[in-house]
């Protein structure tokens, strides 16, 4: 019967106390785990998907909406800009690379993005089979889309399959053909169908719907010179250009420039407040579990005072009693935090489903795999156990045996 098995016996003796204290620690740790996983998953995801884009130019409106809709493909676009604006910006000396994108259709929930081959280079995409699109209505499919190479399909109007406004609205006048599939990149590209921008423009030139915000549409005379695009993804020549280009672009009448870095900083500040609130909540749950541990171990010690005296009489040192009770605390903390970490991962995974608009930005499978921070959380849980056991352990070590024996 060593210290460890004595501690185990001590815990087994009051199973209900043990289970409740363990659960209390688990809850605190689970909350900390899930808040951490989701917030880092989100900010990592936002960074990873940024793809080195310095500036996005698009229709005037909310800059954040512009960024979310054209880089992260989570929101609907604001509107369209003229093709001539693209030409102007592309020829600007401050621009290193300008990539046009046109969006407005989807197939089975995957957005169809009309663009140039440069778009694929943003994500260092590699082909799994097939190759790059060569003519309009060729499709290069992201790794997580449902289409196969060689498959032909008609695009659906709108941005997602649950876009009720466009349900059943199909561009069956022209079929797309998949000419290549990409290897997974871990970015939003995996969920996209890429095609030359001319394809989307052509489909929408024949479109006779009323103008709706965020949709491509052609003017009534179908004049090719008035072709529209949704946005321009810009890589700037140098740091100064990143500062100066937006100023120049924002001076034009129809086009605004948004800096993804700046908008995301603003976004994560807003999200950060929520995260801080949740973290504070998790910390208070952990604090509460600590108090519960104090009470549980203290009451269990009161019941076991005579046991402690017996151990002393049989030759155990005060240090031995101290380490026995501390071991109980550490065991509670360790088991509690392990359960909490596992539960926290599952919680984060389920919560990420609710965060639908950020789907594809957070890598959901990452939420279930072990994160280095789990070790920190484990240490926090064990620390809570140590702290919770400390008062009882000190009092056990100080047990006045003579007094206990006299009383008996």
């Amino acid at each position: 019967m060593n210290t460890f098995s004595l501690a185990i016996k001590g815990l087994q003796h009051k199973p209900l106390h043990t289970i409740l204290s363990t659960l209390a620690i688990s809850m605190g740790i689970a909350m900390l785990t899930s808040v951490f996983l989701i917030s880092t998953g989100l900010s990592d995801g936002l960074k990873r998907n940024n793809a080195g884009i310095d500036i996005v130019a698009g229709a005037k409106g909310s800059p954040l909406q512009l960024i979310l809709s054209t880089i992260y493909h989570t929101d609907v676009p604001i509107g369209n800009i003229d093709m001539s604006d693209f030409e102007k910006i592309r020829q600007n000396s401050m621009v290193k690379k300008a990539i046009p994108i046109v969006i407005g259709d989807h197939f089975e929930g995957a957005r169809i993005v009309g663009t140039t081959p440069d778009f694929l280079d943003l994500y260092q995409a590699k082909f799994e089979d097939g190759g790059i699109f060569l003519k309009p209505f060729d499709i290069v499919a992201g790794a997580k889309t449902t289409v196969k190479t060689g498959q032909e399909f008609a695009a659906h109007h709108g941005f997602t399959s649950d876009d009720a406004a466009h349900d059943g609205d199909i561009h069956d006048e022209h079929l797309y053909k998949v000419v290549g599939r990409l290897a997974p990149t871990g970015t939003v590209l995996d969920r996209l169908l890429i095609t030359p921008y001319a394809s989307v423009q052509e489909l929408h030139a024949h479109h006779d719907h009323d103008e709706e915000e965020g949709e491509l549409h052609s003017s009534e005379n179908h004049d090719k010179t008035e072709q529209k695009i949704t946005a321009i993804l810009i890589k700037a020549r140098n740091h100064a250009s990143v500062m100066n280009l937006p100023r120049m672009i924002n001076n034009t009448e129809q086009v605004q420039a948004a800096n993804p870095q700046y908008e995301l900083t603003r976004l994560s500040k807003t999200l950060g407040i929520g995260r801080d609130v949740l973290n504070a909540l998790a910390a208070s749950v952990l604090g509460l579990s600590l108090l519960m541990l104090f009470a549980t171990l203290a009451s269990s010690l009161t019941e076991r005072r005579h046991d402690m005296a017996v151990l002393r009489v049989l030759g155990a040192s005060p240090t031995k009693l101290f380490t026995t009770l501390m071991t109980e605390g550490v065991l509670l903390g360790a088991i509690g935090s392990l359960i909490g970490i596992v539960f926290g991962h599952i919680l984060a995974y389920s919560l990420s489903q609710i965060l639908g608009s950020f789907e594809g930005i957070i890598l959901r499978n990452d939420l279930l795999s072990i994160h280095p921070f789990d070790i920190v959380l484990f240490a926090i849980g064990c620390g809570a156990g140590i702290l919770g056991a400390l008062p009882a352990a000190i009092s056990a070590a100080r047990t006045d045996i003579a007094k206990l024996l006299v009383k008996s």
């Binding site: 019967m1 060593n2 016996k9 001590g10 087994q12 003796h13 005579h306 046991d307 005296a309 017996v310 151990l311 002393r312 009489v313 049989l314 030759g315 155990a316 040192s317 005060p318 240090t319 031995k320 045996i401 003579a402 024996l405 006299v406 008996s408």
Partner: protein, 220 residues
């Protein structure tokens, strides 16, 4: 050879501030000593002092010629585990451990190695065979008492100390327990020190230290 010797031990009572002056005692191997006195006369206090659990106000305790309170706390704990076997009035078997685990605490807490068949032999000689894996509350009162005795003598202690072993027992069981203590002390060649207010067992001892008339001195 003496196992234990006390020299002018006094203890100040914590509440009444009176000073208890204990008589000097000397214990040799296989001595049978009765410490007699009514409740509150300081019997358990004296036992605590000679076992190294309570430092005396003045005076000295020598165990195997070592000045007990000149040792470090750790050495004292170890010496206690090796020298004394305690039987308490209330039995103090740990309820969360089996009978075997309870008895083996004597080995595990003192760190003194034992022969592998020690436990089995003890259980057999005390009529506890077959009960090793039971919890204490599954045993009768008498069986629990014997298990506690087994734990006390597990390390073949030099002195078995029994504090009020019979006060809650009827005459018949008093005889059984005292016979058992006597027999086990003889088998492990231990001295036996019994503290009690129970006059029924007086005739079993030649060496009686009566604390009834312990001189109580008021304190300045």
């Amino acid at each position: 050879m003496t196992i234990l010797r006390t020299d002018s031990v006094t203890v100040q009572h914590s509440k009444t501030s009176t000073i208890l002056n204990f008589p000097d005692i000397t214990i040799h191997p296989e001595d049978r000593i009765l410490l007699l006195g009514p409740s509150g006369s300081g019997k358990t206090t004296f036992l605590s002092v000679i076992a190294g659990l309570l430092a005396p106000g003045s005076g000295k305790v020598f165990v195997k010629d070592k000045d007990l309170y000149a040792l470090t706390a750790k050495e004292r704990d170890h010496l206690r585990g090796a020298t004394f076997g305690f039987v308490f009035q209330t039995l103090h078997l740990l309820p969360s451990l089996t009978i075997a685990q309870n008895i083996l605490l004597a080995r595990d807490m003192s760190g003194i190695p034992s022969r592998p068949d020690r436990l089995e032999n003890l259980l057999l000689s005390l009529g506890l065979n077959g009960l090793a894996d039971r919890k204490p509350d599954a045993l009768s009162q008498g069986q629990q008492q014997r298990a506690a005795l087994a734990r006390a003598i597990f390390n073949s202690p030099s002195i078995i100390i029994a504090d009020e072993p019979t006060s809650s027992l009827d005459d018949q069981n008093t005889d059984i327990v005292m016979d058992l203590l006597d027999q086990q002390a003889r088998e492990s060649q231990s001295a036996l020190l019994v503290a009690t207010h129970d006059h029924r067992i007086k005739q079993r001892f030649q060496n009686i230290i009566d604390l009834t008339s312990l001189s109580l001195k008021g304190v300045a």
